[in-house]
């Protein structure tokens, strides 16, 4: 009768090796392997170098796509930008993703607070010297109730979506409407961005206010990710989710190829169009990862190597020599 351990861990049919040994120099082997890999990596580096596409800047974004930039800024004021509606860990304006009743994003709460209107627009504008018209607009904004502010900003962001780009990063053909101080604020934000001054102000936003050092790019990156420039570049480089982008790299370089299975799920339904795709894919990958680690105790999966005997190829010399030594001695050569 097989023991419980045997049932769980599988039958131990590995007798201790009592056969012959061949000379082996472990340290020499490791040394030669290391030298070989270093040489190979150096050759690949010399032949192919590596990708290093310069980062996008907010100045580039606001100059190249001024309408998109201004729309994103107005959406931040209106509370309708992707970051504003994200939910945890940035704010409480969304529930976050969930898989049935499982909602770790919500459970863990707001750990990196981001308030887009204040951190991405009002704060940066308030910290730099402004002409009287912008100071007045900031003053009106601060005195106005939140609902009215959002109404103005939402109306302006919708009007901007239909606006056109003029020469030199200007915006034209914005439909007249009741937008309060929002056009002045967004105009000032666009000017600040186009001058290259917004990145620094965004780095000082949120919890980093009034600090000299900062290594946290959360706010500027969230702001940029809400806009269109990063996505435009990513699409050109085949980095979008539906382009298997998770495992791709800029240029024609191999990327994180080992993420192919993660990337695969995003290409098929129901994940492709699910609002909860990330948690569903991460959960599946979590379970598969656990299964991968536990292969030795998963019945069936651990037996496949016996059913598909590739081991006979791996150890063919061993089996051949065993067969030869077990064969009866040849009789009479005649």
């Amino acid at each position: 009768m097989s023991s419980f351990k045997e049932k769980v861990l599988g039958k131990n049919d590995t007798p201790p090796w009592k056969g012959s040994y061949a000379p082996y120099d472990l340290i020499k082997e490791a040394f030669i392997a290391t030298v070989a890999v270093i040489c190979f990596a150096v050759i690949l580096a010399l032949l192919f170098s590596s990708p290093d596409d310069p980062p996008s800047t907010i100045a580039q974004w606001s100059q190249r796509l001024p309408v998109n930039f201004a729309t994103t800024g107005a959406q931040n004021l209106a509370g309708t930008s992707p970051t504003a509606e994200y939910g945890p860990p940035y704010n409480s304006n969304g529930e976050g993703q969930k898989a049935g009743p499982i909602a770790p994003q919500k459970w863990l709460g707001v750990t990196h607070p981001v308030e887009p209107a204040q951190d991405m627009v009002i704060g940066p504008l308030s910290r730099v010297p402004q002409p009287p018209v912008v100071l007045a607009a900031l003053h009106i904004w601060k005195l106005t109730p939140d609902a009215k502010r959002k109404e103005w900003a939402k109306a302006y962001s919708e009007a901007l979506e239909k606006a056109k780009e003029g020469p030199n990063g200007t915006i034209t053909a914005v439909k007249p409407g009741s937008y309060g101080p929002v056009p002045v604020l967004i105009g000032a934000l666009t000017s600040l961005a186009q001058s290259g001054g917004l990145e620094g102000q965004l780095l000082e936003s949120g919890s980093a206010a009034n600090r000299f050092y900062n290594n946290d790019y959360t706010i500027p990156l969230l702001f940029m990710a809400d806009g269109g420039l990063l996505e435009e570049r990513a699409e050109q480089q085949h980095l979008l989710g539906d382009q298997w982008g998770m495992m791709n790299e800029t240029g024609s370089y191999p990327g994180q190829v080992w993420l192919w299975l993660y990337s695969f799920w995003y290409q098929i339904e129901p994940f492709k169009s699910s609002e909860n795709a990330d948690i569903l894919v991460m959960s599946i990958m979590g379970l598969l990862t656990l299964a991968f680690i536990c292969i030795p105790i998963i019945p069936g999966v651990r037996s496949i190597p016996r059913w598909i005997p590739l081991y006979k190829v791996i150890w063919r010399e061993h089996y051949a020599s065993n067969e030869a030594s077990a064969a009866p001695p040849a009789t009479g050569s005649g």
């Binding site: 061949a22 472990l26 192919f48 590596s50 290093d52």
Partner: protein
């Protein structure tokens, strides 16, 4: 000149209570020097597939060496100088080599059913090394300070946030990602690799799966892991 004072000899009971002695005895018992650094290998270890384990370690060494040079010079160096970019390129290609040879090593071990004979921990540590290597690479990608880093960090955050990891692991925080990449995760991978190697040395390389006609039913309890007590065995 005075003679050395005669000290009280250390008793066996005192040695038995010493944590250090206990650890030493256990270490020598589990992994005697001839097993740790063998001079022979069972003759069945005769296939190119066995090379990929040591190649994985070699790639990790290459990664650590190039990573140390990049860390010494600092984050801007690899963008601003051609020599810095060269070392960054070697580091990148070493990553690709590391994953490539590690995956082949894992497949090879799978088809050998290399967890047999009390070697489950060898498989488990190997599989965990692969799993931990993934965030090690990811934190490197988001620490590059180029467009790739911008895009990957803003995309990866959604998956990590969705499962709650984003609450304490922020891909857009360069300082945090850089720390994970150059210290915490490499230490974890290196420690796991060290444990994996020790387990391999302790248990020996898994012997071939017996062919059907050679299978002998032996009680599991009576079958310890194969050893590579190789001293003199090669002769």
């Amino acid at each position: 000149m005075s003679a050395e004072p005669a000290g009280k000899p250390i008793t066996e009971a005192e040695l038995d209570h010493s944590w250090t002695v206990k650890l030493r005895r256990k270490a020598v018992e589990e992994l005697p020097p001839e097993k740790m650094l063998p001079d022979g290998q069972p003759t069945y270890v005769a296939n190119w597939i066995y090379v990929f384990g040591v190649l994985s370690i070699a790639a990790l060494v290459t990664l650590i060496l190039t990573g140390m040079i990049l860390a010494l010079k600092g984050p801007s160096w690899w963008h601003l100088t051609s020599i810095g970019h060269f070392f960054n390129s070697v580091h990148l290609w070493a990553v690709e080599i590391f994953f490539f040879v590690m995956v082949i090593h894992l497949w090879g071990k799978y088809w050998m059913a290399a967890w047999r004979g009390g070697r489950i921990r060898v498989w488990v540590t190997g599989a965990i090394i692969f799993v931990v290597a993934i965030p090690t690479a990811l934190t490197g990608y988001v620490s590059q300070q180029n467009f790739d880093a911008q895009w990957i960090s803003t995309q990866a955050k959604d998956g990590l946030n969705a499962v709650g990891v984003g609450a304490f692991f922020n891909t857009m925080n360069f300082g945090q990602m850089y720390s994970w990449h150059i210290l915490l995760l490499p230490v974890a991978v290196s420690a796991l690799v060290a444990g994996h190697i020790l387990l391999v040395r302790r248990n020996g390389v898994v012997p071939p799966i017996p062919l059907k006609e050679q299978v002998q039913e032996v009680p599991a309890k009576a079958q310890p892991a194969a050893t590579t007590t190789a001293t003199g065995a090669a002769s």
